[in-house]
Symmetry: C2
Subunit: 332 residues, 2 copies
């Protein structure tokens, strides 16, 4: 079989930053995030502009943490859930930095880190890139489901789009944390059609990527301190474990999902957990990266999962194809 794992020799993370909304700040990981904003409009006039403002602020936060300026950055790569990915493009539009827009639904931050790594790995001169992704609960509800004013009820399997963003400053100059491998996902379509159960739709893609990774790599499950999916939620997490056990991969207690970690299941009314591009982006760039910095972890496998639907494809009763990309992060 052809090897498809990408090996990176000199790709490092120099800094990361996260910025979340009120609900995410009030959740169990509240203190892990670099910043939060209690106003869901982020001081702007619409939820879409709010998301742009959130990303813009977080990019500035990232540069502060990395002690550099936009002039030092060679490339920004990222995307979001808003139609035509305008949250990110408006946020980047004044930076004068070369930009590649991506659409990978909620897997976008991992796709951005893989593309960053491809760019940095082959480059002989010193380069810096930024990978970024975001989502905003109110903007997503309006676009994908119903305007919030309708006050519509939700099914138990539905997830709560995270208001949050995460960004990574990557470089090919030596740093403490390294991106050593990446695996680009294949689209998996098992015929799921329930847009209120994206965890189920994405579980197949997550299982496929995890299987492909362990089939190709020399690592075993226990080589990782954390194996982290993006936003499968409670429903998707139980399905992916079942799918993997059929392939004789039995996930142990080092298997986590950012969508299950970001909210308090009992106190916060978020059904099957968190979702959205901002979910894994904010949790990976804070909680899990901090584990590597604090030497509480040495190696993390991060799997971003995305459901490739749009509201019209759901109305047209088309299925929900999904995708999952993964990367390996290693500490010193």
């Amino acid at each position: 079989m052809k090897k498809q794992i990408l090996n990176f020799q000199n790709v490092y993370i120099q800094a990361s930053s996260s910025l979340v909304g009120k609900k995410e700040f009030e959740g169990p990981l509240g203190n892990e995030f670099d910043a939060h904003e209690m106003d869901e409009y982020f001081g702007k006039k619409s939820f879409e502009e709010a998301e742009t403002e959130m990303v813009r602020r977080n990019l500035n936060l990232l540069l502060n943490k990395g002690r550099c300026d936009f002039i030092d950055i060679d490339l920004i790569i990222g995307g979001d859930l808003i139609n035509q990915c305008i949250a990110t493009s408006f946020a980047v539009s004044e930076t004068k930095v070369p930009y590649l827009g991506l659409y990978g639904a909620c897997s976008t931050i991992i796709e951005a880190l893989i593309c960053s790594s491809l760019y940095l790995n082959g480059n002989d001169s010193h380069k810096k890139t930024i990978a970024t992704s975001s989502s905003h609960f109110c903007a997503s509800e309006r676009q994908y489901r119903f305007p919030l004013e309708y006050g519509s009820t939700r099914t138990p399997t539905s997830q709560n789009t995270v208001t949050g963003t995460g960004a990574f400053l990557c470089t090919n100059q030596k740093q403490t944390i390294k991106i050593t491998q990446g695996l680009i996902g294949r689209i998996i379509d098992k015929g799921a059609t329930d847009a209120n159960n994206m965890g189920a739709a994405m579980a197949g893609a997550a299982a496929d990527t995890i299987c492909r990774f362990f089939n190709e790599s020399d690592y075993s499950l226990s080589d990782f301190d954390y194996i982290v999916t993006g936003d499968l939620g409670y429903e998707g997490n139980s399905i992916v474990k079942e799918l993997l056990s059929l392939e004789n991969i039995d996930m142990k207690d080092n298997f986590y999902d950012c969508g299950m970690l970001i909210y308090d299941k009992k106190k916060q009314d978020t059904h099957s957990g968190g979702s959205g591009c901002g979910c894994i982006a904010s949790v990976l760039s804070s909680f899990f990266i901090n584990k590597l910095y604090n030497k509480e972890a040495k190696r993390i496998l991060a799997i971003g999962t995305g459901a490739l639907l749009n509201p019209n494809s759901v109305f047209s009763r088309r299925s929900i194809p999904s995708i999952a990309h993964c990367i390996v992060l290693e500490g010193d």
Copy 2:
């Protein structure tokens, strides 16, 4: 100043293919395209499914021309204009090939070729990728402007979204045509707000990328047989020439725009010319690539231009930021 041009040592085009709609087939380049379809539904039930079917067929056409199968392909990279880029993702979903979704508006095919090149250039083993992009007039009208049934009239500066797709089979094994350089664009926002004049909005980005390219590279204008923009149309083409002349870059008669080439200005009612992801994708993958194969040209600079708007950003009176990426194609 930091050098941002990317140099590729071993990135080749093994094959390319194009498939267009009725109007494009009836235009001056009609015989250049590999295939066409007279039914705007492509035998499907909706325009969105039609676009998916168009991309799916063209990918198969590409594999035929390149004499290989999906199992030989390591990566598909691409995107389109439909919300959440579902035209491409549905078309790819049964291929079982790793996939990276992009959003670069009408610059997407050039972005896809740059990302393909980054992937192939750094890879020691033999790899093949596909770069693809598409647009469909009827699907775009419904999404960005009005349903066709409204029969709304258009302004003279408006452009006609091309129903078409183009794809490239890229490899790091030696072939006749080579991708030697790439330059990733920066977002340029000069405050344009007229969504019926995208040429004007994109002209600033095209001028910026062309300036940056000739400032950094050792080439002069006359080193290229063709310098080709994607879909500025008549309006945008005249603006970009003016902007470039202010920078002492005087475009000569080797400067073309795919949006101006694809339709007959007098006989086809397309106002300022063609636009859409499928415009440069279909024209570059046929008409211009054929010039290289036939040795009528030795070196081409292809500049894809994209307007990063969505319908809501226009209604909210936000400006239209734009971007342009470019690549250098060389024949034997």
